[in-house]
């Protein structure tokens, strides 16, 4: 079976700097795959290449077998590739209900309706309510996003990506900066993502990586350093040397 997402010889140069160096990577269907690496390893550049924010210098990107290397970000979203952002990118003046409803209505083709009152289409409301429920936003449905606790904002960040009904979801440090008291909800929501969505998790938090992922890729200096199951990577002395050395209690 073709992988959910695949890169072949992907490369990105910024002048003399090679930010992504010949990366050939496979995300299998239904995978729970983590991408880790020290700061500056090129993880964010890699994500930007996958989503189309940056154009690669060389190499191909395939989404479920289809070459999407030349497609714009929106076109990739429509083909089922959604991402969350490391730094919240939310609609501060809309409520979670409105934000999710907007994403759902755009996908279902109601985005140009200008005479219809938002909320008057049952199918959109059904799906919006289900997504809000899945991401534990029911208690803050009607609050301005800008006023939400940070943990809820991180949940909404994922909910908005999920509302695009992705088949591949890229989570860029979803738990970054979330206070301890609000972490549980977030981790539970991530763990409960449906199995048919293939997930690539970029994360620094080793607890989250080990509890969520079944495979781990390690990126160092823009290249894939190693890849394996959680146990293989965790027990790889070279990985400990370059990366886990920072916190060997894992």
């Amino acid at each position: 079976m073709t992988p959910a997402l695949e890169t072949v010889g992907l490369q990105k140069r910024f002048g003399g700097l090679i930010a992504t160096n010949d990366v050939s990577f496979r995300l299998e269907r239904g995978a729970r795959h983590a991408l880790i690496g020290p700061n500056g390893a090129g993880k964010t550049t890699f994500i930007n290449l996958l989503t189309g924010v940056l154009a690669p210098t060389a190499g191909r990107i395939r989404l479920e077998g289809e070459d999407v290397t030349g497609l714009r970000p929106e076109a990739r979203v429509r083909r089922g590739l959604a991402r969350t952002f490391q730094i919240n990118q939310l609609f501060r003046d809309l409520t979670p209900l409105e934000s999710i409803g907007l994403a759902v209505s755009e996908r279902l083709g109601g985005g140009w309706d200008w005479w219809r009152i938002a909320g008057s289409k049952g199918a959109i409301v059904d799906e919006t309510a289900a997504i809000a429920d899945r991401f534990r936003l029911t208690d803050v449905l009607d609050a301005r996003t800008g006023t939400l606790p940070y943990g809820k904002q991180r949940l909404l960040e994922i909910a908005l990506a999920f509302a695009c009904r992705p088949r591949v979801l890229l989570l860029d440090e979803p738990a970054a900066g979330v206070p301890e008291a609000e972490r549980h909800e977030l981790l539970a929501a991530i763990a409960a993502l449906p199995r048919e969505v293939s997930v690539l998790l970029i994360e620094h938090d080793m607890d989250l990586v080990f509890s969520f992922a079944d495979r781990i890729s390690v990126m160092v200096d823009g290249a894939l350093f190693t890849e394996g199951t959680v146990d293989e990577v965790a027990n790889d002395p070279r990985v400990r040397a370059v990366y886990l050395g920072e916190g060997t209690d894992a």
Binding site: E98, G101, G110, A129, Y150
Partner: protein
Amino acid sequence: MRDRAEALILRRARWRPAEYVFWLLAFAALVLFPDRHLILNEIAILALFAVSLDLILGYAGLVSLGHAAFFGFGAYAAGLLAKHAVAEPVIGLVAAGAGAALLGFATSFLVLRGTDLTRLMVTLGVALILGEIANQAAWLTGGADGLQGVAMDPIIGVFEFDLFGRTAYAYSLVTLFLLFVAARRLVNSPLGLSLTAIRDNPLRAAAVGVPVNPRLVAVYTVSAAYAGIAGALLAQTTQFVSLDVLDFHRSADVLLVLVIGGAGYLYGGIVGAVLFRLVQDLLAGLTPQYWHFWIGLILVVLVLMGRERMTSGVAALARAGVDRLRPGAGRATKELRP
């Protein structure tokens, strides 16, 4: 849960009691203030113009310093049509609105790119160009003397304009009301939601599938049509058009009206128009020479008080200005706030 979500989202669009009261009062003014119809007519026209600006500024976050371009275009279109072709007012309104919409559509592509500052300059530039064209084309527009000889037929052949502005106010008020209701539907629709989303975060709006530029073109076009209709109302009810309709002060005044009333909730334009015109009238009566001093003072105080409903466009502009003054502080600071 599902029903609660539905109730919550539908609640946004429901008409509130205060709104009924407001419109009843506006229509009651036809009977209650028979000697104030002329100024009420002006207020209704200014209000429509401000509602038009609110659509792009308050909702989509597009700043403009040249909205008079569409107002003036509509005014000349209606005046010329009445003078040379059809003097029936409603036909004139529709034609002026359509013409202004075309102009809005054509110039919308100029405001898609760039920062708030570029938009201010581009919109200002478009209005200046139109003003100069109207000035030079004196054979058509009458130039500095204004467009003379505009005589309107009765509205739909029935309602004759009178000297006291009664028909004029009723006509402008009904037009304002109908267009307001349409704008209210629009801002509470999925399309309206997407405009607010674009204003808040165009990057994320695109990431959830909103076609950002086509939406901005659409709202700019609609806004231009509204402004054109407001200009047409002025031309028809005063039966005169002068270069003043394209003047910079019109663009500035309407921005002021929106700041006074508050942007982003549609009523701001109307409330602002009432306050602006009444204050102007009051101050001009007290100190005829200095009324701009007072309106300036009111503006400064209003903006410094940091009103909740301050237009996000103007606020963002102020932020951008402050950021620029502070070396090393980038736009990113806005996003880092948790």
